[in-house]
C-alpha cells in the first residue's frame, strides 16, 4: 500500500469511526449481550439471577400465552400488510397521474404516517367509540345500527384486532405510497404505449406490465411492512392493552409486559430472539417467493 493509499485508508476509518463505534455499541454488542442475558433467569425487580442455558427458550416455546401472542401477530400481519399494500398501490396509481394539484394530495396522504403514535391512538379511540364515535355515527346514518345497538369495537374480542388493522392501513399508507410512486417512475412509458397499440385494456396493462415491473418495490414494501407489523407496540399499549381476552396481545406487547411489567428480562430476551428468528424466516420466505415470480418474468 502506498503512503497515499494508507493516508486515505486512515482518513476513511476516521470518518467512518463514530458511526462504526455507535453501531458496535448500540447494535452489534447488544445483540450479543441479549443472547447472553437470554440464558439467564433474571428478574431485575428482585435481582434473582440464575443460569438456565436454553431454559428460557424451552419455556417460551411451551408457553400458551407466547404462542397466543405469535398467533395474534401473525393474524395482524397477514391481514394488515397485504391490505395496506394493495391500498397504497391503488392510491399511488391514482396520484401518479399528471393532474393539477396532485402533489397536495400526496402530501396530505402522508400526514397520518408522521403523526404521533400516541395522538393517533387517542384519535382512534374516538373513531371507534361505542355511541358517538365516527364509525358508529356512520353506521347509524347507514341504518346498519340503531340508537340502542351501537357496536363497541374496541372492547369486543372479535373486533378489537380489526381496529388495529385499520389503524395500520391508515398510518402505513404514506410511506408505502411514496415507495410505489418511486417504483412507478421507473417503468418506461414505452411499454404502455406498445401495449395500447396492441389493443390491451387498462386492466391487462396493469396485470402484465405494472405489477411485474413493481415486483422489486413490492418486495421491499412487503418485507419492511412485515418487519414493522410483527413488532407492533404503541397502539396496543394505548388502546387495547392486549385485551380484550388477550386477543390483541401481540408479540411486541407481550415482550414488553414480560420485560418491563413482570421484570423477567432473561425470558423476555429469549422471546425477542425467537421473534427475530421468526421475522427473518418470514422475510426469507417472502424473498424466495417474489424472486421466483421475478424469474418467471425475466425469462
Amino acid at each position: 500500500m502506498t503512503r497515499l493509499q494508507r493516508r486515505e485508508s486512515l482518513l476513511g476509518w476516521a470518518f467512518v469511526g463514530p458511526a462504526t463505534a455507535h453501531l458496535a455499541l448500540f447494535a452489534l454488542f447488544p445483540i450479543a449481550y441479549a443472547a447472553y442475558v437470554s440464558t439467564f433467569k433474571w428478574n431485575i425487580a428482585n435481582g434473582h439471577h440464575a443460569f438456565v442455558g436454553g431454559g428460557n427458550y424451552a419455556f417460551s416455546l411451551r408457553e400458551q400465552a407466547f404462542w397466543n401472542a405469535l398467533w395474534n401477530s401473525f393474524r395482524y400481519t397477514a391481514v394488515g400488510v397485504p391490505l395496506g399494500m394493495a391500498l397504497a398501490l391503488a392510491v399511488a396509481l391514482l396520484v401518479n397521474q399528471r393532474l393539477r394539484g396532485v402533489t397536495i394530495f400526496r402530501t396530505l396522504y402522508y400526514i397520518p404516517a408522521i403523526s404521533s403514535g400516541v395522538a393517533t391512538a387517542m384519535l382512534w379511540i374516538y373513531v371507534f367509540l361505542p355511541t358517538n364515535g365516527l364509525v358508529n355515527v356512520v353506521l347509524l346514518w347507514l341504518h346498519v345500527n340503531d340508537k340502542t345497538h351501537t357496536t363497541d369495537f374496541i372492547n369486543n374480542a372479535s373486533t378489537a384486532m380489526w381496529v388495529l388493522v385499520v389503524m395500520s392501513v391508515f398510518t402505513g399508507l404514506g410511506p408505502r405510497m411514496v415507495l410505489y410512486l418511486a417504483g412507478l417512475v421507473g417503468i418506461p412509458g414505452s411499454l404502455y404505449e406498445a401495449a395500447s397499440l396492441d389493443g390491451a385494456s387498462g386492466w391487462s396493462s396493469f396485470k402484465r406490465i405494472t405489477l411485474p415491473m413493481l415486483l422489486p418495490t413490492s418486495l421491499f414494501v412487503l418485507v419492511t411492512s412485515t418487519i414493522s407489523a410483527m413488532q407492533l407496540f404503541t397502539p396496543v399499549y394505548m388502546i387495547t392493552k392486549g385485551g380484550p381476552d388477550m386477543t390483541t396481545d401481540v408479540v411486541g406487547y407481550h415482550i414488553y409486559t414480560e420485560a418491563w411489567v413482570d421484570f423477567n428480562v432473561g425470558l423476555a430476551s429469549a422471546k425477542s430472539f425467537i421473534l427475530l428468528v421468526a421475522i427473518a424466516g418470514i422475510s426469507i420466505v417472502q424473498f424466495r417467493l417474489v424472486r421466483a415470480n421475478l424469474a418467471d418474468y425475466s425469462a
Binding site: I44, A45, N46, H48, D262
Partner: protein, 428 residues
C-alpha cells in the same frame, strides 16, 4: 447547510435556558397513584395539606407525582434506574415486591430514635401489614376491612331479623332466600349481590377452610384447587343458579348499576369506600334515593370456620431507599400520619383511619362504629407478601367466570387457574 445551522442555533439557545435554581430549596417528590384530576375537593384538600407543610418547613417544596397507570411497575423501574421519589404511597395488595426486595427503607431504626412518634397510635394488625420481622417498611394511613353490608329496610320488609355475624354458609343461604322476592320483573329483590372481583370474594374461600396459595405463598396447586374451594365455588354458583338469590353476571350487567346501591339487593360484600357511593345513591322517580345509607348495617362475612375471616386493604407511606433527604422525608411522613392532618384528610370518609384516635373520633354514627370490631380479625392481603399476586387474582376471576358463564366444573376451573399461576410464578 442552513437547516443544520438553524438547529445549532436553536440548540445553543435552549442550552442557555436553565430553570432558575434556588440553591437552598429542597424538593420532596411524592409518588402516588390515581388520576390527577385537579379540581376535585380531594385534590384541593391534598394541596392545602401540602402547602401547610411547606409553610411549616420553609425552603421545602412538595411535588406530588400522580402515576395514573401501572404504578407498581413505574416505582420498580424508578428504583432500578436510581430515580426513585422521596416518598411513595404503598398499597398493601401490591406492596410485596417493594418490601421483599429492599426497595423501601426500614423505618424501625428511625422510629426507635424518634421520641415524638409512637407506633402504637395505630391499629397493630394494620401496622403488621408492613412488618417483616423487626423491620417496619411503611406507616399506614387508612384501610378498610371487607364486610357484609345489609339493607335494613329490605330485611324489615321481609320480616327477617338482622344478621349478627355468627352465621355459617347454610344460614346465610337461608337468610338470603328469605329476603329474596322473585315474582315478576318489577318486584325482584335479590338477597345478595355477588360480584366477580376476587379481592371481594376471596374471604369465602378462607371461611370454608380453603386457601389460595400454600402457606409460603409459592404454589397454587393443591391449595387453590382444593375440594373445599370447589365446594365454595359450587355454593356461590348455586346462589345464582339454584336459589336465585343473586343476579347472574349478565343480569347485573344489564341492570347497568350495582344492585345494592340501587336498592335491589339486600346484602353485598364490600369495603368502607362504598359508603361514598351509598351516600350518593341514585334516585328513583320520586326523587328519593334508592338506598338510604342510614338504613345500612355491617356485619362479619359468613363463616364455616370457627372464627370469621376477612381481608383488609390498606395504603400507607413508605420511603424508597436512595432517598436523598431522609430526615425531611420522615418529617413529612410523620406530618401526614399525625392526628392533626388525618382528622382533616380522613373527613372524605373513604376509609377508616389507621390511627386509633382518629378512627374512634370519626366513629360518630352506629354504622361507623360497627366497622371497628371487625378490624381485629382482618388479615393482610396476600399481595403484601407475595409478589405478582395480581396475576393470581386475574386467574381466580377467570376461573369464577368460566364456572358462572360457561358452566365449567369448579374443580377443573380451579385446577387450570392453579396450573397457570404456578407456571407464571416459575418465571421469577
Amino acid at each position: 447547510m442552513s437547516l443544520r445551522r438553524w438547529w445549532c442555533v436553536l440548540l445553543l439557545a435552549l442550552a442557555g435556558c436553565q430553570p432558575s435554581h434556588n440553591p437552598n430549596a429542597i424538593t420532596l417528590r411524592i409518588a402516588t397513584w390515581g388520576t390527577g384530576e385537579d379540581d376535585s375537593d380531594y385534590a384541593k384538600k391534598c394541596d392545602a395539606i401540602d402547602h401547610e407543610f411547606e409553610r411549616e418547613n420553609p425552603g421545602v417544596k412538595i411535588v406530588r407525582e400522580t402515576i395514573p397507570e401501572q404504578y407498581v411497575q413505574a416505582m420498580v423501574m424508578a428504583h432500578v434506574a436510581g430515580a426513585s421519589p422521596d416518598i411513595m404511597m404503598l398499597d398493601a395488595s401490591s406492596a410485596a415486591v417493594f418490601m421483599n426486595n429492599g426497595i423501601v427503607t426500614d423505618l424501625a431504626p428511625i422510629i426507635a430514635k424518634d421520641p415524638e412518634f409512637r407506633l402504637d397510635d395505630y391499629f397493630p394488625n394494620v401496622v403488621d401489614i408492613a412488618r417483616r420481622g423487626s423491620a417496619v417498611y411503611a406507616i399506614p394511613q387508612d384501610f378498610t376491612p371487607m364486610v357484609m353490608y345489609y339493607n335494613k329496610r329490605l330485611f324489615d320488609r321481609a320480616q327477617v331479623p338482622y344478621p349478627d355475624g355468627s352465621w355459617n354458609f347454610e344460614r346465610f343461604r337461608q337468610v338470603a332466600r328469605a329476603v329474596t322476592i322473585n315474582e315478576g320483573e318489577k318486584n325482584e329483590r335479590f338477597g345478595y349481590a355477588f360480584s366477580n372481583w376476587m379481592p371481594g370474594w376471596v374471604m369465602w374461600l378462607w371461611n370454608n377452610g380453603g386457601d389460595v396459595l400454600t402457606e409460603d405463598g409459592t404454589r397454587a396447586a393443591g391449595s387453590l384447587n382444593s375440594p373445599q374451594n370447589a365446594q365454595t365455588f359450587r355454593f356461590l354458583r348455586d346462589l345464582i343458579e339454584v336459589d336465585h338469590v343473586s343476579p347472574s353476571p349478565s343480569m347485573t350487567a344489564a341492570m347497568g348499576v350495582d344492585p345494592f346501591v340501587s336498592g335491589r339487593a339486600a346484602m353485598t360484600i364490600s369495603g368502607h369506600w362504598s359508603l361514598i357511593d351509598y351516600k350518593n345513591a341514585p334516585k328513583d322517580r320520586n326523587g328519593q334515593p334508592k338506598l338510604d345509607w342510614r338504613e345500612l348495617g355491617v356485619t362479619a362475612v359468613p363463616h364455616n370456620t370457627p372464627l370469621a375471616n376477612t381481608v383488609m386493604y390498606e395504603s400507607g407511606y413508605a420511603i424508597p431507599t436512595g432517598c436523598r433527604h431522609l430526615d425531611l422525608a420522615w418529617r413529612y411522613v410523620k406530618y401526614m400520619t399525625s392526628r392533626r392532618v388525618q382528622m382533616d384528610y380522613n373527613s372524605s370518609g373513604i376509609a377508616i383511619d389507621a390511627r386509633k384516635d382518629v378512627a374512634q373520633a370519626r366513629a360518630v354514627d352506629p354504622l361507623e362504629r360497627a366497622f371497628l370490631p371487625l378490624v381485629a380479625t382482618a388479615r393482610a392481603p396476600r399481595g403484601s407478601r407475595v409478589e405478582g399476586y395480581d396475576f393470581v387474582e386475574t386467574q381466580g376471576a377467570s376461573a369464577m367466570s368460566s364456572v358462572l358463564l360457561n358452566g365449567a366444573d369448579p374443580l377443573a376451573a380451579l385446577k387450570t387457574a392453579a396450573e397457570r399461576i404456578d407456571l407464571e410464578f416459575a418465571k421469577r
